[in-house]
Amino acid sequence: MILDMQRFLESARPIWKELELGLTHLEHDPDPQWDLARTEAFYRLYQQTSAHLAEVRHLTSERELRGYLEQLVARSYASIYVRGRERGRGRWWQWFTAAFPVAVRRHAAALALSAGLFLVGCAFGAVALKIDPTAKATLLPFGHGQQTPTERVKKEMVDQGKNISQARGRFSAQLMTHNTRVAFFTLGLGMTFGLGTIVLLFYNGVIMGAISVDYIADGQLVFLLGWILPHGSVEIPAILLAGQAGLVLGHALIGWGNRLPRRLRLRAVLPDLVTMAGGIAVLMVWAGVIESFFSQYHEPVIPYALKIGFGVVEMAALALFLIRGGANESTL
């Protein structure tokens, strides 16, 4: 012990006590309306306590005192150096209508890559089924491999949606939650340096390509469009956006063309990832409702022309929204 502990404690303890009082106040009210003098006084207390910690660390072997002061300094540091507010805050509708499309556009190259990977998957699925029709049961999930498209269309015309009419709510909820989970998983797999995201995008493309070829080859193109377009015109872009977010995450992890440390690269993309995840969830909810309450009804209940037209309008509106949304907002 080199410090005169008695004298040291006599002079320092009132400072620590005052700092503790300030900290307790700040931890209960992180945004207090302190004037400049109060803020400066608090900062001085923090600086003085930091200096005391340095003295204690070097001039005594008091572990308990050192731990106490380290904790005071750590809490003060966390209270003083709070990072600025994140961009994109504001009312929810503004977040969705402006921040979301702006975030999507900020990473347009990743969206293009995501769409490209999906299309490559589509091409692979289409060619694979064309070359080897027996692969249908392997490539197509959800029982599509059990019947031909024509058999399904006939069945749907007889059922007229009765098979689902008693379970539309449950079916819709399952679609929403399942698709949102898949989308978030696609995003999260960006942490595999983007490889997991790439695989999922490609796999979804394979299914889409194989289903398309199956229905077209069986002469059921109109049914296919009427079935897929109403919900797919939102659900498929939502999957592509999830892939985009995963690729953004993977890119931040790898750091091509960016010399910042990894954690700063990741920190930079976090707000956009959250905004995109929220937007994707909203799109998935919409797609789930449409798939359950609209897509599953076919002619003669709902004319195909109406379903296809609805899907085309939705797709155009979504594209316009993502291209133009938030264009006039300068702060996003």
Partner: protein, 255 residues
């Protein structure tokens, strides 16, 4: 038995140049916190199911759909909302005294909370949080994949009580100061260079290897012992390092 996990600390440096450490939460406390949080979600889910069972009497399909959505929302939002409202803590983390913090020792932002929880399914792969557990054990700051993406760490949040001041002062007297004439002789005979080296050794003690530290203080204590011989009852219980501390206090303390 050797522990499989050694306490890890997050070392930080403030812009003022002050260094401090935050103790990281161990795997067991994190696992227990997770188990509690999973139980909370299950209980909330079962309450939802009871409510849904009542509502099903009016419209079974809508009630079941609502139940599915509500359970999904609870399981997704519980951790996010709790960590947002309780500044990095869920119920489990509160009970276990641990907290999520920014990797730089700052409070976490909402975007960090959302991302670390969105990536939970990746941590859960292939089962029983294997990926997350291996990542936490394999990374320097015990970060699972979600933590790595969000730049967060889980620290022990236990607030230390102020030390017992009386205890701190008691028994800390310098036995060598009980002999002021010998202390004065030590001041007189000690070269300024030696006083500087001894102080430097104490300041940098934590940076020295254990064996080097023991050797250094043995040498320094030997030099001081040879300079002035204090009565045995004043110094016999002192370790070499404590002997040097007492000597340095005599040399550097203002009289």
């Amino acid at each position: 038995m050797k522990a499989l996990y050694n306490e890890a600390k997050l070392e930080l440096r403030t812009p003022e140049g002050m260094e401090f450490t935050l103790p990281l939460a161990g795997p067991v406390s994190r696992l227990l916190a997770l188990a509690i949080d999973m139980a909370v979600v299950m209980v909330a889910g079962s309450v939802v199911q009871k409510v849904i069972a009542v509502l099903a009497a009016f419209n079974a399909d809508a009630a079941q759909g609502l139940g599915t959505v509500l359970y999904f929302v609870i399981s997704m939002l519980y951790s996010i909302l709790a960590e947002w409202l309780w500044q990095g803590q869920t119920l489990g983390k509160r009970l276990l005294g641990i907290r999520v913090m920014d990797r730089d020792g700052l409070p976490i932002h909402l975007s960090q909370i959302v991302v670390r929880n969105l990536l939970r399914p990746v941590d859960m792969l292939p089962a029983f949080y294997l990926v997350g557990g291996l990542a936490a054990l394999g990374t320097r700051y015990g970060q699972r994949v979600g933590d790595l993406a969000a730049n967060t760490v889980v620290v022990r949040a236990r607030q230390l009580e102020p030390p017992d001041w009386q205890k701190l002062l008691a028994g800390k007297f310098n036995s060598m100061l009980e002999h002021p004439h010998l202390a004065a002789r030590l001041r007189q005979r000690t070269a300024p260079e030696l006083a500087g080296v001894a102080l430097d050794a104490l300041v940098r003690r934590d940076q020295l290897e254990d064996s080097a530290r023991i050797e250094l203080f043995r040498e320094l204590a030997g030099i001081f012992r040879r300079l002035v011989e204090f009565p045995a009852e004043a110094v016999e219980a002192l370790s070499d390092e404590q002997y040097v501390r007492n000597a340095v206090e005599i040399l550097h303390r203002s009289r």
